[in-house]
Protein backbone atom coordinates (compact mmCIF):
# COMPACT_ATOMS: atom_id res chain seq x y z
CA UNK A 1 0.00 0.00 0.00
CA UNK A 2 1.59 3.25 -1.12
CA UNK A 3 -0.67 5.70 0.59
CA UNK A 4 -3.12 5.88 3.43
CA UNK A 5 -5.88 7.06 1.11
CA UNK A 6 -7.38 3.75 0.05
CA UNK A 7 -7.73 1.23 2.82
CA UNK A 8 -8.68 -2.41 2.97
CA UNK A 9 -12.38 -1.56 3.14
CA UNK A 10 -12.27 -0.61 -0.55
CA UNK A 11 -13.37 2.92 0.15
CA UNK A 12 -12.27 5.77 -2.08
CA UNK A 13 -12.63 9.43 -1.13
CA UNK A 14 -12.94 12.02 -3.88
CA UNK A 15 -14.32 15.47 -4.63
CA UNK A 16 -17.47 15.45 -6.77
CA UNK A 17 -18.27 18.75 -8.48
CA UNK A 18 -21.52 20.14 -9.77
CA UNK A 19 -21.73 23.70 -11.07
CA UNK A 20 -22.55 25.05 -7.57
CA UNK A 21 -21.19 22.56 -5.06
CA UNK A 22 -18.21 20.55 -4.03
CA UNK A 23 -19.09 17.22 -2.40
CA UNK A 24 -16.20 15.58 -0.59
CA UNK A 25 -17.43 12.05 -0.10
CA UNK A 26 -16.47 8.42 -0.05
CA UNK A 27 -17.67 5.65 -2.25
CA UNK A 28 -17.35 1.95 -1.55
CA UNK A 29 -15.72 0.44 -4.62
CA UNK A 30 -14.56 -2.85 -3.09
CA UNK A 31 -11.90 -4.18 -5.47
CA UNK A 32 -12.97 -2.10 -8.44
CA UNK A 33 -11.67 1.28 -9.48
CA UNK A 34 -13.89 4.33 -9.25
CA UNK A 35 -13.93 4.76 -13.02
CA UNK A 36 -15.33 1.25 -13.38
CA UNK A 37 -18.04 1.97 -10.83
CA UNK A 38 -19.01 5.05 -12.84
CA UNK A 39 -19.17 2.98 -16.02
CA UNK A 40 -21.65 0.57 -14.44
CA UNK A 41 -24.73 1.02 -16.64
CA UNK A 42 -27.00 -0.85 -14.24
CA UNK A 43 -27.60 2.38 -12.32
CA UNK A 44 -27.78 6.11 -13.01
CA UNK A 45 -26.89 6.89 -9.39
CA UNK A 46 -23.72 6.87 -7.40
CA UNK A 47 -24.14 5.94 -3.74
CA UNK A 48 -21.85 8.04 -1.60
CA UNK A 49 -21.20 8.06 2.14
CA UNK A 50 -19.76 10.57 4.64
CA UNK A 51 -20.62 13.57 2.53
CA UNK A 52 -19.15 17.00 3.30
CA UNK A 53 -20.71 19.79 1.27
CA UNK A 54 -19.06 23.08 0.32
CA UNK A 55 -20.31 25.85 -1.89
CA UNK A 56 -18.17 26.60 -4.90
CA UNK A 57 -17.59 30.22 -3.88
CA UNK A 58 -16.12 29.11 -0.49
CA UNK A 59 -14.83 25.63 -1.24
CA UNK A 60 -12.86 25.30 2.00
CA UNK A 61 -15.88 25.84 4.25
CA UNK A 62 -18.00 22.82 5.06
CA UNK A 63 -21.63 23.93 5.16
CA UNK A 64 -23.26 20.57 5.83
CA UNK A 65 -22.42 16.95 6.42
CA UNK A 66 -24.51 13.85 5.81
CA UNK A 67 -23.88 10.17 6.31
CA UNK A 68 -25.24 8.93 3.01
CA UNK A 69 -26.56 10.18 -0.29
CA UNK A 70 -26.89 9.49 -3.98
CA UNK A 71 -25.44 11.53 -6.78
CA UNK A 72 -27.08 11.50 -10.17
CA UNK A 73 -24.18 10.42 -12.33
CA UNK A 74 -25.16 12.62 -15.20
CA UNK A 75 -25.30 15.75 -13.01
CA UNK A 76 -21.68 15.40 -11.94
CA UNK A 77 -19.48 17.74 -13.95
CA UNK A 78 -16.20 16.22 -12.90
CA UNK A 79 -14.65 14.19 -10.12
CA UNK A 80 -11.26 15.06 -8.69
CA UNK A 81 -9.18 12.13 -7.44
CA UNK A 82 -6.12 12.04 -5.26
CA UNK A 83 -4.82 8.89 -6.92
CA UNK A 84 -4.38 8.59 -10.66
CA UNK A 85 -4.98 4.85 -10.71
CA UNK A 86 -8.60 5.28 -9.61
CA UNK A 87 -9.33 7.10 -12.85
CA UNK A 88 -7.98 4.50 -15.21
CA UNK A 89 -9.90 1.32 -15.81
CA UNK A 90 -8.15 -1.89 -14.84
CA UNK A 91 -8.53 -3.05 -18.42
CA UNK A 92 -6.46 -0.17 -19.74
CA UNK A 93 -3.99 0.41 -16.97
CA UNK A 94 -0.99 -1.18 -18.60
CA UNK A 95 -1.50 0.28 -22.07
CA UNK A 96 1.33 2.54 -23.22
CA UNK A 97 0.04 5.98 -24.10
CA UNK A 98 1.35 9.50 -24.57
CA UNK A 99 0.12 12.57 -22.72
CA UNK A 100 -1.47 15.26 -24.84
CA UNK A 101 -2.56 18.64 -23.44
CA UNK A 102 -6.29 19.34 -23.31
CA UNK A 103 -8.59 22.28 -22.69
CA UNK A 104 -12.13 21.38 -21.74
CA UNK A 105 -15.01 23.74 -21.12
CA UNK A 106 -17.82 22.41 -18.93
CA UNK A 107 -20.57 24.36 -17.10
CA UNK A 108 -18.93 26.78 -14.62
CA UNK A 109 -15.42 25.35 -15.11
CA UNK A 110 -12.56 25.30 -17.51
CA UNK A 111 -10.30 22.28 -17.18
CA UNK A 112 -6.69 22.05 -18.23
CA UNK A 113 -4.95 18.71 -18.16
CA UNK A 114 -3.33 15.86 -20.00
CA UNK A 115 -5.04 13.08 -21.88
CA UNK A 116 -3.58 9.61 -22.22
CA UNK A 117 -3.71 8.92 -25.93
CA UNK A 118 -2.10 6.46 -28.33
CA UNK A 119 0.15 7.36 -31.21
CA UNK A 120 -2.63 7.95 -33.70
CA UNK A 121 -4.01 11.41 -34.54
CA UNK A 122 -6.34 12.77 -31.88
CA UNK A 123 -9.96 12.14 -32.89
CA UNK A 124 -12.06 14.27 -30.56
CA UNK A 125 -15.43 13.05 -31.78
CA UNK A 126 -14.38 9.46 -31.31
CA UNK A 127 -13.04 10.33 -27.89
CA UNK A 128 -16.36 11.86 -26.81
CA UNK A 129 -18.77 9.50 -28.49
CA UNK A 130 -17.35 6.11 -29.22
CA UNK A 131 -15.97 5.15 -25.86
CA UNK A 132 -18.06 2.99 -23.55
CA UNK A 133 -17.22 5.14 -20.56
CA UNK A 134 -19.13 8.35 -19.80
CA UNK A 135 -16.29 9.89 -17.83
CA UNK A 136 -13.10 10.99 -19.51
CA UNK A 137 -9.93 10.49 -17.46
CA UNK A 138 -7.75 13.61 -17.53
CA UNK A 139 -4.49 13.73 -15.61
CA UNK A 140 -2.53 16.61 -14.00
CA UNK A 141 -5.67 18.66 -13.82
CA UNK A 142 -6.36 22.26 -12.93
CA UNK A 143 -10.05 23.15 -12.88
CA UNK A 144 -10.78 26.87 -12.72
CA UNK A 145 -14.20 28.27 -11.97
CA UNK A 146 -14.99 30.43 -15.00
CA UNK A 147 -17.00 33.00 -12.98
CA UNK A 148 -14.57 33.12 -10.04
CA UNK A 149 -11.14 32.37 -11.50
CA UNK A 150 -9.51 32.50 -8.05
CA UNK A 151 -11.40 29.30 -7.21
CA UNK A 152 -9.17 26.55 -8.53
CA UNK A 153 -8.93 22.84 -7.88
CA UNK A 154 -5.96 20.66 -8.69
CA UNK A 155 -5.25 16.99 -8.63
CA UNK A 156 -3.42 14.14 -10.31
CA UNK A 157 -6.57 12.94 -12.01
CA UNK A 158 -10.08 14.10 -12.88
CA UNK A 159 -12.92 12.22 -14.43
CA UNK A 160 -14.84 14.63 -16.64
CA UNK A 161 -18.44 13.90 -17.55
CA UNK A 162 -18.46 13.70 -21.36
CA UNK A 163 -22.11 14.72 -21.56
CA UNK A 164 -21.23 18.03 -19.86
CA UNK A 165 -18.39 18.90 -22.20
CA UNK A 166 -19.08 22.10 -24.14
CA UNK A 167 -15.74 22.38 -25.88
CA UNK A 168 -12.78 20.04 -25.95
CA UNK A 169 -9.55 21.20 -27.55
CA UNK A 170 -6.37 19.21 -27.82
CA UNK A 171 -3.10 18.84 -29.71
CA UNK A 172 -2.02 15.93 -31.81
CA UNK A 173 0.62 13.68 -30.24
Amino acid sequence: MNTVRRTSSGRVTADFFTSSYRFSASIIVYKRRLVDVLADRMTDYLDIVDIYISRINAPGDIIATYQKGSLVKNEIIFILLSDESEGISKERFYTTRDDIPLFISVPSFEILGQLKWGTKELDIKKLLLADTQNFLPVSEVTATNSLMPTVKFQGPMALVNKTKVQVLCGLNP
Partner: protein, 366 residues
Protein backbone atom coordinates in the same frame (compact mmCIF):
# COMPACT_ATOMS: atom_id res chain seq x y z
CA UNK B 1 9.34 9.20 22.20
CA UNK B 2 6.23 11.31 22.01
CA UNK B 3 2.60 10.71 22.81
CA UNK B 4 0.43 11.21 19.72
CA UNK B 5 -3.34 11.35 19.61
CA UNK B 6 -4.82 10.33 16.25
CA UNK B 7 -8.41 11.26 15.41
CA UNK B 8 -10.11 9.69 12.40
CA UNK B 9 -13.46 8.05 11.84
CA UNK B 10 -11.95 5.53 9.42
CA UNK B 11 -10.92 2.52 11.52
CA UNK B 12 -8.57 1.25 8.83
CA UNK B 13 -6.66 4.52 8.76
CA UNK B 14 -6.57 4.63 12.56
CA UNK B 15 -5.06 1.15 12.68
CA UNK B 16 -2.58 1.93 9.93
CA UNK B 17 -1.38 5.15 11.57
CA UNK B 18 -1.33 3.60 15.04
CA UNK B 19 0.88 0.81 13.72
CA UNK B 20 3.17 3.23 11.84
CA UNK B 21 3.75 5.53 14.81
CA UNK B 22 4.13 2.71 17.34
CA UNK B 23 6.72 1.09 15.08
CA UNK B 24 8.62 4.39 15.19
CA UNK B 25 8.72 4.24 18.97
CA UNK B 26 5.90 6.64 19.85
CA UNK B 27 3.01 6.02 22.17
CA UNK B 28 -0.31 6.40 20.40
CA UNK B 29 -3.90 6.77 21.42
CA UNK B 30 -6.78 6.91 18.99
CA UNK B 31 -10.21 8.45 18.83
CA UNK B 32 -12.92 8.14 16.21
CA UNK B 33 -14.59 11.52 16.69
CA UNK B 34 -13.65 15.05 17.60
CA UNK B 35 -16.02 15.46 20.56
CA UNK B 36 -14.64 12.41 22.34
CA UNK B 37 -11.11 13.39 21.33
CA UNK B 38 -11.36 16.76 23.08
CA UNK B 39 -12.05 15.06 26.42
CA UNK B 40 -9.43 12.41 25.72
CA UNK B 41 -6.83 15.06 24.89
CA UNK B 42 -7.54 16.93 28.13
CA UNK B 43 -6.78 13.79 30.10
CA UNK B 44 -3.84 12.52 28.07
CA UNK B 45 -2.25 15.84 27.18
CA UNK B 46 -0.63 14.55 23.97
CA UNK B 47 2.55 16.02 22.50
CA UNK B 48 0.95 16.16 19.06
CA UNK B 49 -2.50 15.62 17.59
CA UNK B 50 -3.26 14.29 14.12
CA UNK B 51 -6.82 15.00 13.06
CA UNK B 52 -8.94 14.10 10.06
CA UNK B 53 -11.28 16.76 8.63
CA UNK B 54 -14.27 14.73 7.56
CA UNK B 55 -15.62 13.19 10.74
CA UNK B 56 -19.14 12.86 12.15
CA UNK B 57 -20.24 15.11 15.04
CA UNK B 58 -17.36 17.54 14.65
CA UNK B 59 -15.17 18.37 11.66
CA UNK B 60 -11.42 18.54 12.07
CA UNK B 61 -11.57 22.31 11.59
CA UNK B 62 -14.02 22.67 14.50
CA UNK B 63 -11.86 20.37 16.62
CA UNK B 64 -8.89 22.64 15.92
CA UNK B 65 -10.81 25.78 16.87
CA UNK B 66 -12.11 24.27 20.09
CA UNK B 67 -8.76 22.81 21.07
CA UNK B 68 -7.00 26.12 20.46
CA UNK B 69 -9.50 27.91 22.71
CA UNK B 70 -8.20 25.87 25.65
CA UNK B 71 -4.95 27.10 27.23
CA UNK B 72 -3.76 23.50 27.43
CA UNK B 73 -3.57 23.15 23.65
CA UNK B 74 -2.42 26.60 22.62
CA UNK B 75 1.05 25.31 21.76
CA UNK B 76 0.29 21.67 20.96
CA UNK B 77 1.03 20.88 17.31
CA UNK B 78 -2.19 19.87 15.55
CA UNK B 79 -1.80 18.36 12.10
CA UNK B 80 -4.82 18.12 9.87
CA UNK B 81 -4.64 14.96 7.82
CA UNK B 82 -7.33 14.83 5.21
CA UNK B 83 -8.51 13.40 1.94
CA UNK B 84 -9.47 16.95 0.97
CA UNK B 85 -6.21 17.91 -0.62
CA UNK B 86 -6.79 21.29 -2.28
CA UNK B 87 -4.68 24.37 -1.43
CA UNK B 88 -7.86 26.02 -0.09
CA UNK B 89 -8.26 23.11 2.34
CA UNK B 90 -4.79 23.69 3.68
CA UNK B 91 -5.57 27.40 4.15
CA UNK B 92 -8.86 26.59 5.90
CA UNK B 93 -7.01 24.26 8.28
CA UNK B 94 -4.34 26.86 9.07
CA UNK B 95 -7.05 29.48 9.62
CA UNK B 96 -8.71 27.10 12.10
CA UNK B 97 -5.45 26.94 14.08
CA UNK B 98 -3.77 23.83 12.67
CA UNK B 99 0.02 23.72 12.73
CA UNK B 100 0.25 21.91 9.42
CA UNK B 101 -1.85 20.16 6.82
CA UNK B 102 -1.06 16.88 5.16
CA UNK B 103 -3.07 15.17 2.46
CA UNK B 104 -3.92 11.51 2.81
CA UNK B 105 -2.08 10.84 -0.42
CA UNK B 106 1.14 10.78 1.59
CA UNK B 107 2.77 7.43 2.34
CA UNK B 108 2.74 6.37 6.03
CA UNK B 109 6.53 6.46 6.43
CA UNK B 110 6.62 9.96 4.92
CA UNK B 111 3.83 10.98 7.28
CA UNK B 112 5.78 9.69 10.28
CA UNK B 113 8.90 11.62 9.32
CA UNK B 114 6.89 14.81 8.67
CA UNK B 115 5.18 14.47 12.03
CA UNK B 116 8.48 13.86 13.80
CA UNK B 117 9.75 17.15 12.40
CA UNK B 118 6.80 18.88 14.04
CA UNK B 119 7.18 17.28 17.45
CA UNK B 120 8.19 19.85 20.04
CA UNK B 121 11.86 19.84 20.77
CA UNK B 122 12.88 20.19 24.38
CA UNK B 123 11.56 23.67 24.84
CA UNK B 124 10.98 23.35 28.54
CA UNK B 125 12.29 26.15 30.70
CA UNK B 126 15.29 25.74 32.95
CA UNK B 127 14.81 22.93 35.43
CA UNK B 128 13.79 23.50 38.98
CA UNK B 129 11.57 26.57 38.94
CA UNK B 130 9.82 27.00 42.22
CA UNK B 131 6.83 29.21 42.80
CA UNK B 132 5.18 29.71 46.15
CA UNK B 133 1.74 31.18 46.70
CA UNK B 134 0.72 32.65 49.99
CA UNK B 135 -1.32 35.29 51.68
CA UNK B 136 -1.16 36.86 55.12
CA UNK B 137 -4.93 36.72 55.28
CA UNK B 138 -6.96 33.55 54.99
CA UNK B 139 -9.79 33.08 52.54
CA UNK B 140 -8.18 34.70 49.54
CA UNK B 141 -8.26 31.52 47.45
CA UNK B 142 -4.55 30.71 47.65
CA UNK B 143 -5.08 26.94 47.38
CA UNK B 144 -7.49 27.28 44.44
CA UNK B 145 -4.92 29.37 42.60
CA UNK B 146 -2.05 27.04 43.53
CA UNK B 147 -3.94 23.98 42.28
CA UNK B 148 -4.93 25.64 39.00
CA UNK B 149 -1.52 27.19 38.51
CA UNK B 150 0.15 23.78 38.91
CA UNK B 151 -2.21 22.31 36.33
CA UNK B 152 -1.64 25.22 33.94
CA UNK B 153 2.15 24.81 34.26
CA UNK B 154 1.84 21.11 33.55
CA UNK B 155 -0.46 21.59 30.58
CA UNK B 156 1.42 24.46 28.99
CA UNK B 157 5.00 23.30 29.52
CA UNK B 158 4.32 19.52 29.56
CA UNK B 159 7.10 18.98 32.07
CA UNK B 160 7.21 17.40 35.50
CA UNK B 161 5.23 19.47 37.97
CA UNK B 162 4.67 18.92 41.67
CA UNK B 163 2.27 20.72 43.96
CA UNK B 164 3.22 20.63 47.62
CA UNK B 165 0.65 21.60 50.20
CA UNK B 166 2.78 23.03 53.01
CA UNK B 167 -0.10 23.36 55.47
CA UNK B 168 0.95 21.17 58.37
CA UNK B 169 -2.58 19.89 58.76
CA UNK B 170 -5.91 20.23 56.94
CA UNK B 171 -4.72 21.63 53.61
CA UNK B 172 -7.24 21.54 50.78
CA UNK B 173 -5.14 20.84 47.70
CA UNK B 174 -6.02 17.11 47.67
CA UNK B 175 -9.70 17.91 48.03
CA UNK B 176 -9.62 20.39 45.18
CA UNK B 177 -7.84 17.89 42.94
CA UNK B 178 -10.33 15.19 43.89
CA UNK B 179 -7.64 12.76 45.02
CA UNK B 180 -7.28 10.68 48.18
CA UNK B 181 -3.72 10.81 49.44
CA UNK B 182 -2.38 7.76 51.19
CA UNK B 183 0.53 9.69 52.67
CA UNK B 184 1.33 13.28 53.49
CA UNK B 185 4.05 15.90 53.74
CA UNK B 186 4.43 15.58 57.56
CA UNK B 187 4.86 11.83 57.16
CA UNK B 188 7.60 12.38 54.58
CA UNK B 189 9.29 14.97 56.76
CA UNK B 190 9.34 12.57 59.69
CA UNK B 191 11.75 10.20 57.93
CA UNK B 192 15.20 9.95 59.54
CA UNK B 193 17.39 10.32 56.44
CA UNK B 194 19.22 13.67 56.44
CA UNK B 195 18.71 14.29 52.73
CA UNK B 196 15.80 13.56 50.47
CA UNK B 197 15.86 11.61 47.21
CA UNK B 198 13.18 11.03 44.60
CA UNK B 199 12.95 7.40 45.71
CA UNK B 200 12.11 8.61 49.22
CA UNK B 201 9.59 11.16 48.01
CA UNK B 202 7.81 9.04 45.40
CA UNK B 203 5.75 6.83 47.76
CA UNK B 204 4.30 9.95 49.39
CA UNK B 205 3.07 11.49 46.13
CA UNK B 206 -0.39 11.24 44.60
CA UNK B 207 -0.74 11.24 40.81
CA UNK B 208 -3.45 13.49 39.43
CA UNK B 209 -4.95 12.75 36.00
CA UNK B 210 -3.55 16.05 34.66
CA UNK B 211 -0.04 14.75 35.29
CA UNK B 212 0.56 16.98 38.31
CA UNK B 213 1.93 15.13 41.33
CA UNK B 214 0.72 16.15 44.76
CA UNK B 215 2.45 16.12 48.08
CA UNK B 216 -0.56 16.49 50.31
CA UNK B 217 -1.10 17.97 53.71
CA UNK B 218 -2.03 15.78 56.67
CA UNK B 219 -5.78 15.14 56.31
CA UNK B 220 -6.44 14.56 60.03
CA UNK B 221 -5.74 16.59 63.12
CA UNK B 222 -2.38 16.03 64.74
CA UNK B 223 -0.44 17.81 67.45
CA UNK B 224 2.87 16.62 66.04
CA UNK B 225 5.35 19.44 65.49
CA UNK B 226 6.10 20.22 61.87
CA UNK B 227 9.88 19.64 61.58
CA UNK B 228 10.76 22.96 59.97
CA UNK B 229 14.45 22.17 59.53
CA UNK B 230 13.44 19.31 57.20
CA UNK B 231 11.43 21.52 54.86
CA UNK B 232 14.46 23.24 53.36
CA UNK B 233 16.28 20.07 52.18
CA UNK B 234 13.01 18.69 50.88
CA UNK B 235 12.40 21.74 48.70
CA UNK B 236 15.99 21.61 47.48
CA UNK B 237 15.34 18.03 46.43
CA UNK B 238 12.05 18.96 44.72
CA UNK B 239 13.84 21.75 42.83
CA UNK B 240 16.47 19.35 41.56
CA UNK B 241 13.90 16.70 40.62
CA UNK B 242 10.90 18.51 39.15
CA UNK B 243 10.78 21.13 36.42
CA UNK B 244 8.17 23.06 38.34
CA UNK B 245 7.46 23.01 42.05
CA UNK B 246 4.35 24.86 43.17
CA UNK B 247 4.12 25.44 46.90
CA UNK B 248 0.88 26.23 48.65
CA UNK B 249 2.46 28.09 51.56
CA UNK B 250 0.61 28.60 54.88
CA UNK B 251 -0.54 32.14 55.32
CA UNK B 252 1.77 33.20 58.12
CA UNK B 253 5.29 34.36 57.61
CA UNK B 254 6.21 32.55 60.77
CA UNK B 255 8.10 29.30 60.90
CA UNK B 256 8.00 26.85 59.31
CA UNK B 257 7.26 28.78 56.12
CA UNK B 258 9.85 31.51 56.37
CA UNK B 259 12.96 29.44 55.46
CA UNK B 260 11.09 28.27 52.39
CA UNK B 261 10.61 31.79 51.07
CA UNK B 262 14.32 32.18 50.37
CA UNK B 263 14.25 29.12 48.10
CA UNK B 264 11.49 30.37 45.88
CA UNK B 265 12.14 31.64 42.36
CA UNK B 266 8.78 33.37 42.26
CA UNK B 267 6.52 34.43 45.07
CA UNK B 268 2.87 35.03 44.39
CA UNK B 269 1.30 37.12 47.08
CA UNK B 270 -2.43 36.58 46.79
CA UNK B 271 -4.86 39.22 47.96
CA UNK B 272 -8.56 39.81 47.64
CA UNK B 273 -9.80 43.28 46.62
CA UNK B 274 -10.84 44.42 50.11
CA UNK B 275 -9.19 46.59 52.77
CA UNK B 276 -8.31 43.84 55.29
CA UNK B 277 -6.54 41.83 52.62
CA UNK B 278 -4.73 44.88 51.28
CA UNK B 279 -3.57 45.74 54.79
CA UNK B 280 -2.30 42.18 55.27
CA UNK B 281 -0.49 42.41 51.95
CA UNK B 282 1.31 45.57 53.03
CA UNK B 283 2.42 43.75 56.18
CA UNK B 284 3.48 40.69 54.13
CA UNK B 285 5.56 42.90 51.84
CA UNK B 286 7.27 44.41 54.90
CA UNK B 287 7.91 40.89 56.24
CA UNK B 288 9.35 39.67 52.95
CA UNK B 289 11.61 42.71 52.82
CA UNK B 290 12.82 41.92 56.35
CA UNK B 291 13.57 38.33 55.28
CA UNK B 292 15.79 39.79 52.56
CA UNK B 293 13.64 38.55 49.67
CA UNK B 294 14.51 40.11 46.31
CA UNK B 295 11.49 42.27 45.52
CA UNK B 296 11.65 41.29 41.84
CA UNK B 297 10.61 37.79 42.87
CA UNK B 298 7.39 39.07 44.42
CA UNK B 299 4.26 39.18 42.28
CA UNK B 300 0.91 40.43 43.44
CA UNK B 301 -2.17 38.60 42.22
CA UNK B 302 -5.61 39.92 43.04
CA UNK B 303 -8.13 37.13 43.34
CA UNK B 304 -11.68 38.40 43.22
CA UNK B 305 -13.40 35.90 45.49
CA UNK B 306 -16.72 37.76 45.74
CA UNK B 307 -18.75 39.18 42.83
CA UNK B 308 -19.36 42.68 44.19
CA UNK B 309 -17.93 45.50 46.32
CA UNK B 310 -14.36 45.08 45.15
CA UNK B 311 -11.89 47.90 45.44
CA UNK B 312 -10.56 49.09 42.08
CA UNK B 313 -7.17 47.84 40.96
CA UNK B 314 -5.76 51.38 40.91
CA UNK B 315 -6.66 51.85 44.56
CA UNK B 316 -5.01 48.56 45.52
CA UNK B 317 -1.84 49.43 43.61
CA UNK B 318 -1.76 52.86 45.18
CA UNK B 319 -2.03 51.47 48.72
CA UNK B 320 0.49 48.62 48.33
CA UNK B 321 2.77 50.82 46.19
CA UNK B 322 3.37 47.97 43.77
CA UNK B 323 1.87 46.93 40.43
CA UNK B 324 -0.52 44.02 40.39
CA UNK B 325 0.72 41.30 38.03
CA UNK B 326 -2.66 39.71 37.41
CA UNK B 327 -6.26 40.09 38.47
CA UNK B 328 -8.26 36.87 38.47
CA UNK B 329 -11.92 37.80 37.96
CA UNK B 330 -14.73 36.41 40.10
CA UNK B 331 -15.78 32.99 38.90
CA UNK B 332 -18.83 31.26 40.40
CA UNK B 333 -17.68 28.00 38.80
CA UNK B 334 -14.63 28.06 41.09
CA UNK B 335 -16.83 26.91 43.99
CA UNK B 336 -18.42 24.19 41.90
CA UNK B 337 -14.94 23.09 40.83
CA UNK B 338 -13.84 22.85 44.47
CA UNK B 339 -16.98 20.91 45.37
CA UNK B 340 -16.58 18.45 42.54
CA UNK B 341 -12.85 17.91 42.94
CA UNK B 342 -12.21 18.99 39.36
CA UNK B 343 -10.14 22.17 39.14
CA UNK B 344 -11.52 25.07 37.14
CA UNK B 345 -8.79 24.83 34.52
CA UNK B 346 -9.99 21.34 33.62
CA UNK B 347 -13.71 21.74 34.34
CA UNK B 348 -14.23 25.13 32.69
CA UNK B 349 -11.07 26.10 30.82
CA UNK B 350 -12.89 28.73 28.78
CA UNK B 351 -13.89 30.90 31.72
CA UNK B 352 -12.18 34.30 32.13
CA UNK B 353 -10.68 33.17 35.46
CA UNK B 354 -9.11 30.09 33.85
CA UNK B 355 -7.79 32.27 31.03
CA UNK B 356 -6.25 34.66 33.61
CA UNK B 357 -4.47 31.76 35.32
CA UNK B 358 -3.19 30.56 31.95
CA UNK B 359 -1.93 34.07 31.26
CA UNK B 360 -0.30 34.17 34.68
CA UNK B 361 1.77 31.11 33.73
CA UNK B 362 2.88 32.83 30.53
CA UNK B 363 3.75 36.02 32.38
CA UNK B 364 5.64 34.29 35.18
CA UNK B 365 7.77 32.02 32.99
CA UNK B 366 7.84 33.66 29.58
Amino acid sequence: MAHILIIDDDQDILRLLEFSFKRSGHSVSISSNGVQALTQAEIENPDLIICDVMMPKMTGYDFCKQARSKPQFRETPIVIFSARFQPIDRQTALDAGATDYLAKTVAPDVLVSRIEELLPKNTAPTLGKTVGLFSMKGGTGVTSLAVNLAIALKLVHKTSTILADLASVGGHAALMLGVRPTSSLPKLLSTDEPNFTLEMIQPHLVDHSSGVQLLASLPVFSEAVFPKNRLEPLIQCLKSTFDFTVLDVPHLLESPSSPVVALLDKIILVLSPDMPSIQSTVIALQGLARLGVDEHKINLVVNQIVPHHSLPLQTIQKVVKRPVLMAVPFEPEMVRAANSGKPLLLANPQTPAAAAIGKLVDTLFK
